[in-house]
């Protein structure tokens, strides 16, 4: 008979527990010590203890409670040490406000007072990590670290920067929060709504970082899409009354649904209208449409919902997802949604997209009319898609000589080799067709 195996925990199993527990652990500790940096360090200490003890002893029955107990003991040790230090300072003549020595019971009562309210702790963690005093880069690194449970190494690999850079960003972020006296709090009411975009921006940036990864990239990069989706889904449960959270989740779910169809075998991009729709992920499309419905239900009367920018982009993505073939796309609806989007966030790029949708709905002449109105927009002066779109519309109208000029201009503007080759070919085709006629 074989010996019963001792309970062992692999590194992977410990990492898995960490991934699940990190945010809750740091959030709970944050409420105890009122400082996200210190909370994160205490949680890391607990992880180190787990890495030392679990491989031999196995994962404890309730690993979250185990980690919290270790971190809590460290916190009390730290506070006591600081108190002793401060007392010595008093002895040599400094002031000290009288404070009682903390005990584990004090901590337990703080934790218990909000037991079952992990959501509030997590919300504080989200808004502290995404605080506006921090740069976007710092917010991204800190959010992935404390909420996503990613290691510095993983974040560095995903963002193609040295590990020391990420470590520095996190250290600086913690210092910046301490320096600005940012308390471990979540905004409420109107302030929450005002600060929410800085959180959503971080999540969508992480998503796009993963979405823009190409086939040859380290798998950590595309995995960022899943990390962002997960953060978005968590947020949607934390602030279920905020329509834009659901809008962002909807947008990410629908965009992620196309990930299998959007690149060819060599990693070259396949444009939306050329994608094999059978390869789209219908579970994610369904989830995206459900999230969009939630967003719309929170946006005023159903016949005229006042959607925010993420929900509008999700609604556009949903139009494409609904069409079983590219030809069935409801371009009139998409043009209308781009119109609404341009009104909410005025941008010539959005207008250009609207022009494309209009051309698909009402013909190239109608689209060209809109594109021509954009020709003088300074933001688009070096944007290669403006001449690309204009060239495409002119070609459809048979104005080949003008189209050729636009394609050549676009080819000179793009930084992407593959795109340049395509545009040059299109310019040559225009010239060839013109000569033949």
């Amino acid at each position: 008979m074989s010996q019963p195996e001792p309970p062992r925990a692999t590194h992977g199993a410990i990492e898995a527990v960490w991934r699940i527990e990190a945010a809750r652990l740091i959030a709970g500790l944050g409420r105890l010590v009122h400082d996200i940096g210190q909370a994160e360090e205490l949680a890391q200490d607990a992880l180190v203890a787990a890495l030392e003890q679990w491989p031999a002893g196995g994962v404890p029955e309730n690993p979250g409670a185990w980690l919290m107990a270790v971190a809590k003991r460290r916190a009390i040790d730290q506070i006591r040490r600081r108190e002793r230090f401060e007392r010595k300072q008093v002895e040599i003549g400094h002031d000290l406000e009288t404070r009682r020595d903390p005990s584990e019971d004090d901590f337990d009562s703080v934790l218990d007072s909000a037991a079952g309210n992990i959501s509030d702790d997590l919300l504080r963690l989200v808004f502290t990590a995404c605080h506006p005093v921090l740069s976007t880069e710092a917010r991204v690194a800190l959010t992935l670290r404390v909420l996503g449970g990613l290691t510095t190494t993983e974040i560095a690999r995903a963002f193609l920067v040295p590990e020391s850079t990420v470590a520095q960003r996190i250290v600086r972020a913690k210092k910046a929060l301490a320096k600005a006296g940012v308390r471990f709090e979540a905004p409420v009411g109107q302030e929450l709504a005002e600060r929410l975009p800085s959180v959503l921006e971080v999540v969508y940036l992480v998503f796009n970082e993963g979405y823009s990864a190409t086939a040859g990239d380290d798998w950590m990069r595309p995995a960022l899409c899943e990390d962002a989706l997960r953060l978005g889904r968590i947020l949607a449960e934390l602030v279920p009354g905020e329509p834009e959270v659901h809008g962002l989740v909807a947008l990410m779910e629908i965009q992620a649904s196309r990930s299998r169809a959007r690149t060819g075998p060599g990693g070259e991009p396949i444009l939306l209208l050329d994608q094999d729709r059978a390869r789209w992920d219908h579970l994610l499309i369904h989830r995206g449409r459900t999230a969009l419905t939630r967003a719309m239900a929170l946006c005023g009367p159903p016949e005229r919902p006042a959607l925010g920018p993420y929900a509008l982009q999700a609604a556009i993505a949903a139009c494409h997802a609904r069409a079983r073939t590219a030809e069935q796309t409801d371009w009139a609806r998409i043009a209308e949604l781009y119109g609404a989007l341009a009104w909410v966030v005025p941008s010539p790029v959005v207008e250009l997209n609207r022009a494309v949708a209009v051309s698909m709905a009402s013909g190239p002449a109608a689209g060209l009319e809109l594109v021509d109105q954009l020709a003088s927009a300074p933001e688009l002066a070096s944007y290669h898609l403006l001449p690309t779109v204009r060239g495409d519309l002119l070609a459809k109208l048979g104005r080949l000589e003008e189209a050729r000029g636009e394609f050549e201009r676009a080819a000179a503007l793009t930084a992407n080799e593959r795109e340049r080759a395509l545009l040059t070919r299109r310019a040559e085709e225009c010239a060839g067709a013109n000569a033949a006629s």
Partner: protein
């Protein structure tokens, strides 16, 4: 990464017995935890096999065999579709599912194929598709 966690059937689920209020509450709390953590993509409970059938294809014919089926423990009673960072994470989540008051509650965890799992074998199909799309694009042009 995606996983399917298959809930195995037992005598009670096959008899069409509904879960007790306690069981429903515990399972509801667990599902809520999965949703709040952003890991649950979908999940459903199934009617007993007496309400289902098997469609058996062979080289020459197709046969439909109506349920119920005898091998209770091999049947399934429900499933979750999970998205997790690793197999270990999905496993850790399933270790947190509620325990039954009596008997056994068996969950079978299986990774779902991802595009990269197909490796080399995936390439010819994609190449073919790519060729088809190219041809289509040229037709449209």
């Amino acid at each position: 990464m995606r996983f399917i966690a298959i809930v195995k059937a037992d005598e009670r689920s096959e008899a069409g017995e509904m879960p007790t209020e306690q069981e429903l509450a515990e399972m509801g709390a667990f599902n809520e935890e999965l949703v709040k953590a952003g890991v649950m993509l979908a999940g459903e409970g199934l009617h007993p096999s007496s309400r289902g059938a098997r469609v058996v294809h062979s080289a020459t014919k197709t046969t439909v065999i109506d349920g119920p089926f005898a091998e209770t423990k091999e049947l399934i009673a429900g499933f979750w579709i999970l998205q997790a960072k690793s197999y270990e994470e999905a496993l850790e989540w399933m270790k947190r599912a509620p325990r039954p008051a009596s008997g056994e509650f068996v969950i079978e965890l299986r990774p779902v194929f991802e595009a990269e799992d197909f490796g080399e074998a995936f390439t010819p199909e994609l190449q073919e598709q790519e060729a088809r799309i190219r041809a289509q694009a040229e037709q449209n042009a």
